[in-house]
Amino acid sequence: MSISNATVFIIDDDADFRESVQWLLESTQYNIESYASAQAFLDHYDQRPGCMLLDVRMPEINGLALQQIMQERDIRLPVIILTGHGDVPMAVAAMKNGALDFLEKPFDDDVLLKLVDRAMQEAEQRFSQQSEERELRELHDTLSRREREVMELVVTGNSNREIAETLGISPKTVEVHRSRVMGKMRAESLAHLVQMHNRLAL
């Protein structure tokens, strides 16, 4: 992914304010997309990479609720929370929900642009990580049931003989499964396989 064609998603129920942020960000390299509500965003979002400017105070689904929905749906857009005057408790809650940072309205354009840049770097990491994870999962999906069992036991440090005993098969057969696992997962070493396993968070 290249951050230059990433999108800044603006979610704010105040149309005038939304447009003003758009006017401010139009001078940057990013695409801008704005939505009047959390629901409108969820209806249109198609996994494109980018970051989000999110107003905490909104009718129906507020900013905090949207953060939770995004977590459930594995939407990893870094979120910059926009708060009004005196919304400190909400800002704290948003940070606990995993927001990257928060900005109090009205804000300085330099601060906003720096934060957006930082969010986009974070996004690049998060999205490449996400696509790696997706690839790993696809590889993992090609393993047979027995191969998955063997992989589980291998990465937790069992020897072939121990695995054979646990599964009630011969060490030779374990060896065959083990090399198939390494091959299918495209693992270069045992350490690499352990790493992949961790990333898959099985």
């Binding site: 304010f17 006017w23 401010l24 909104m58």
Partner: protein
Amino acid sequence: MQPLEQELKKCLQEADRYRLLAEQSTDMISRHTPTPEWTFIDVNPAIERLLGYSANEIIGTPGYDLFHPDDADNLKKRAESVRYRRGMYTNVYRFQHRDGHYIWLETTSRTIRDDDGHPLEIICVSRDVTERELAQQATRRLARVVEASSDLILFCNHRSLQLTYMNETAYRTLGAERENLAVFYLNQMFPLEVLHSLVEPALQHAALYGTWYGSIPLYPAGNPGRTAEIREIIAHRNRAENMQVEYYSIIARDITLKRQAEEKAKRQQLEMAHMSRLLSVGEMATELAHEINQPLATIINYCNGTFRRLDEGQITEISQITRAMELISTQARRASEIIKRMRRFVRRTEFQRVSFPINETCIEVTRFLNQEAIDHDIRFEFDLDETNPIIEADRLQIEQVLLNLIRNAIEAYGECLLHPRPVKIRTRIEGRRLQVSVSDQGPGISAEQQQRLFEPFSTTKENGLGMGLSISHTIIESHSGRLWVESDGNTGTSFHFQLPLKGQA
């Protein structure tokens, strides 16, 4: 017959006639000693009917003892009840009956003297005037009641409208001197338009039907600051002369103190209403600050976006930033509208009755609560009377009531799980009145809570003072309306208030 004999006979006949006259007379004729004891020397039989004594019984006893103690010395004191005319005294006094009670006697007396002028005896003719005296006494008492009445009582000539009598209170309230009564006329007491539109019709009504009841304000020119009110006019007819109206009695009341108390209560109410508005705005401070912040943040974004473009040389034509400029001024107006609305709401004002459309006011008030509605996921639902009813009231105070009721409806939802949460505002003409209802679908108010709802400082909110409903109640009552609550204590609450429509107050 000898002339002397004849003369004597004639004399005797004459004496018999006088005796007969004295014996038959219903007036008591008596002779008394000219001493302080006033002893009876002789008396005619009429004494029996008047005083219960027989002549024989009383002759030789002192008359003085039978006087009422208060009247005994009337003659000596030259009391008001004693008149003197051509050697005869007329005295009205109480005299004791044989039974012990007193009767009123009017006695005319003459002193008989010898050639040297020494008094020989006193001859009296007495008449029972008890009935007359009691009637006069009642009249005198009535007059005293009229004179001492705390109401203003005036008698007025039916033609010239000259005031012929004013009681003490009337003098005091009107600020007039007793001596100047002659210059007082009823029509001088009123401005011309009041005279024509109120006083004259009232007099005509009284002349026609005997009595008029009502209320005509009276502001005495001679006594500024005082306020009175004519409440009754009675036309008195002359019974002897074909029942023509003879004069009017006018009864009025000095209502200065009452007015002052009313004024004071009204000022206090205004003061309370103002304080309650300040409290409301205080409670809404966070929301209002947020609302004002929004356009300000927008303005700053447009400015910074424009600077950025200028810096980067993106702007080649002024038209590229006119849109931003327009939007900036729109936002500035938006911010100032919010501030204006707030300032209008917290200002201290006199009571001002104006005509205004209630529907528009309902919508305006919900704008004021825009942010609060967003934060609580409130949907305002309007069900407004299509005839666009106009009411006549203090607009600010009615807005205040609406604000209190709508904020209560919003807060009624509390932790309630319902989303979105409707707050319904309904206006309807009901007969000659306008009814406004604000309803929520929150958890309702129990019958027990409803009883104390309109009392001051009764609140269920953590940071409320419990003034909102109490002041709303007072405001609506002072507009001759009423405010009440309806709730099943479970599925919602409706507050209703009714006000007179314009021209029906």
